[in-house]
Assembly symmetry: C2
Homo-oligomer: 197 residues x 2
């Protein structure tokens, strides 16, 4: 398969790449690659797909959201969380659908905050829940047998800088995260949220 | 209790009002009441709370989202869904928190599309999922014992105009929806999504 991996520089993106690169052609892009992409800019997404062309699968492992106590979150913070984590991924699906081959797939990235709270995580929870329900709602209407799923991991074992923010959460190993991407890309499921708690 | 009900003119708002008005003082507002409120405009929300003052509970039963096949949904449609259903409710929480008495509550309104797809419902699914996960994420951080929950009904029995869009979904009676609001307002739960499937 020819797989476009957007967000290759993060922990989740690397886990996906490590799990898929041996058996597939993985085009791994980020803000600092050539081609580069900024998923908050629809023109940048359009330019990426115009350059890359047809693919069998698109993986999106991007998303920045503000982390603040709920009483400090502003209207702009919520808008930034929506743009950075939700609209960015939805725009990749919207703009990328014509470039995905029949029976291909999108795999988006969410996280455990959709279903579990942590301190300062309310905006992140909102954004993750938005993407997960979008996957459920959009799956039946995507054309030509194109599938869509979300990988929703807890904190990654390799992301040690975040472990203190997830007290008592058992971190998930990168190879387990990678397997979930393999299942989403090579499997048959659609409209699924693959939770890795 | 003194309860501010925003979105009193819709089916869900009326169900909440019918269930609560006998035992509580319900201040029921919408776009066309006096005072009026437009929840997409933060200045309008601020003016509402300044006029109403302290309350024990806030119920939000608003939210308009575009319904279109997923291939026709535009970037502006997703932004409209976020503003109309998500940011509007989050802004009521953000602006309204100082006006809610110790141990009071917010009750937001979502719906079954957060977890079940219907045709043309992808943007609505996204918006509902965003609000439900926000409730989970925000609940532990609200100050002074203030609680927050979401009521997430399937299509309402009285909303007959929507029944064709929900084939095979058993509609929920308005008094059952009303009971869920009673449970959220008078009960002790927080961070809960009360699903009425």
């Amino acid at each position: 398969m020819r797989i476009l991996l957007i967000g290759a520089s993060g922990h989740v993106g690397r886990a996906a790449q490590d799990a898929l690169a041996e058996r597939h052609e993985v085009i791994a892009v980020s803000r600092s690659t050539a081609p580069a992409v900024d998923t908050t800019d629809e023109a940048s997404i359009e330019a990426l797909f115009a350059e890359v062309g047809e693919v069998d699968a698109v993986i999106v492992a991007v998303g920045s959201v503000p982390f603040k106590p709920v009483e400090e979150l502003t209207r702009d913070d919520y808008r930034a969380a929506f743009l950075g984590k939700v609209l960015s991924q939805l725009d990749v699906v919207r703009i990328g659908t014509p470039f995905v081959r029949d029976g291909g797939s999108f795999t988006l990235t969410t996280g455990i905050l959709a279903r579990e709270p942590i301190a300062t995580g309310a905006a992140a929870s909102m954004a993750n829940g938005a993407v997960e329900s979008f996957v459920i709602g959009a799956a039946p209407e995507l054309p030509r047998g194109i599938r869509i799923n979300a990988i929703s991991p807890t904190v990654l074992a390799e992301a040690t800088g975040y472990h203190d923010a997830f007290p008592g959460f058992a971190p998930v190993a990168s190879d387990v995260v990678g397997l979930a991407f393999v299942r989403a890309v090579e499997g048959v499921g659609t409209g699924r949220v693959l939770a890795l708690d």
